[in-house]
Assembly symmetry: C2
Homo-oligomer: 256 residues x 2
């Protein structure tokens, strides 16, 4: 179709990289591309942390569910949902006093602002992913950056109204890479016309027909659903993510 | 640099479209591109609603903060954070009973799952945006789809564990379009090395130096911060978004 569509269709999550740093020119293009992302009201409700320091990457490889390849990624980018900058500006502009004078409610950021700022951050992240891909630089999202909130807060000096919503590991594709494009679920179970369609058992069975589990598996699961629940949705890292996000929300929503 | 970077850098939010439908071929490419987006554990924690029905678009143009151009967009895509499909599958697989038998906690989706599923949905949405852009199709994000949760829930038949995190209006660029690429904040206030940098008053002043407000404005604001707070963060639509998201979370977290 065109080269952009080709890039999107051939992208894979890359967890092994050439052992060479991202060039300054390429890093600049990636960052500039992220910053061109659409953003609510042109507010840029996000910040980007460039992490190249080896010690920090080592630590992240542990705090983000023990994924050792993180330490070996030449470049790590953390995308932060960020309302702090705007609220600091509001403070600088005496908005609280202005609200009182004009009988407008002054409100701290809440769940909706977290979703909006996270959307901004993720849109920027995906621009970075596609820009990188077009330069021969592969990437892998690490949602686990949402875990261990207190550790990351201290590690990166994050104020209360800043939340790490996504992390990207990046590096040049190895020269001998074999692209493995993972199959997705069939479109008819993901895309609906005009109205949501809740799937019936027969459709769920068909949807998952290619996902199998061994009879003797370490989770004592009798089918793929049980196996996958144990491995993902009900796993320790998911529980930690759940705890961590709740904790982060306490700081996020704290009165200013 | 390359055509993908050019597409990213020249993209603008488009709110006026050619009065012609998106071709089936182009729609398919946009949907397939969205579905190639990276997704946590290959779970595809999102669904996509294709909305072409005129009446529905009319209604959305009202429920999403009265933006009349929504009704005139040839194509509307709603990106849904979706845990319903997986939990229906878990139910089909007797995961609750499996958990009891193996003394694993069975948990309903919570805030962390909403953030993870929303991330999946937004990554897919941004793939759709860039694919569309490469085909001469412009787009505009409508975060206001997070408002009026109850209305949209009924309108699109959304079950409890499905949340509309983003909407895209799409249409072909008008032939006489003048591209207006909005300036972003300076990189030094958005991108940080190794650690977050909280901005000082002097930096905030410099960051916002190009954003001005008229002396006599309808918000009775004395500076840009006050004006912008009244117009955005403290505005009625933001309060509605706040209420709506809280309400949605009640359904999202309800025990299964």
């Amino acid at each position: 179709m065109n080269s952009t569509i080709d890039i999107i269709k051939n992208r894979m999550s890359l967890r092994k990289y050439q052992n060479k740093p991202i060039s300054k020119e390429h890093l600049d293009i990636i960052i500039e591309s992220a910053m061109r992302a659409p953003t609510a009201g042109n507010m840029m409700l996000y910040s980007i942390l460039i992490v190249e320091d080896e010690e920090k990457r080592e630590k992240l490889s542990i705090t983000c569910d023990n994924q050792s390849f993180i330490a070996k990624a030449p470049l790590v980018l953390i995308f932060l949902a960020d309302m702090q900058r705007w609220y600091d500006y509001y403070n600088y502009c005496d908005v609280k006093e202005y609200c009182k004078r004009n009988q407008i409610e002054f409100r701290a950021p809440d769940e909706a602002d977290l979703l909006l700022a996270s959307s901004d951050a993720i849109i920027a992240a995906q621009n970075a992913v596609i820009a990188a891909e077009s330069l021969g630089i592969g990437s892998c999202y690490i949602g686990d950056i949402m875990e261990n909130y207190e550790v990351h807060k201290e590690m990166f000096n994050l104020p209360d109204k800043v939340f790490p919503i996504a992390m990207l590991c990046m590096g040049y594709y190895p020269l001998d890479i074999k692209r493995r494009i993972k199959p997705r679920f069939d479109r008819k179970y993901i895309v609906f016309n005009e109205s949501y369609k809740r799937l019936k058992n027969k459709e769920l069975e068909d949807m998952f027909k290619n996902r199998k589990v061994k009879e003797n598996n370490k989770y004592n699961a009798k089918n793929f659903g049980q196996y996958f629940y144990a491995r993902k949705t009900g796993a320790d890292f998911a529980k930690e993510m759940s705890r961590s996000v709740k904790e982060a929300l306490e700081f996020w929503k704290k009165e200013i």
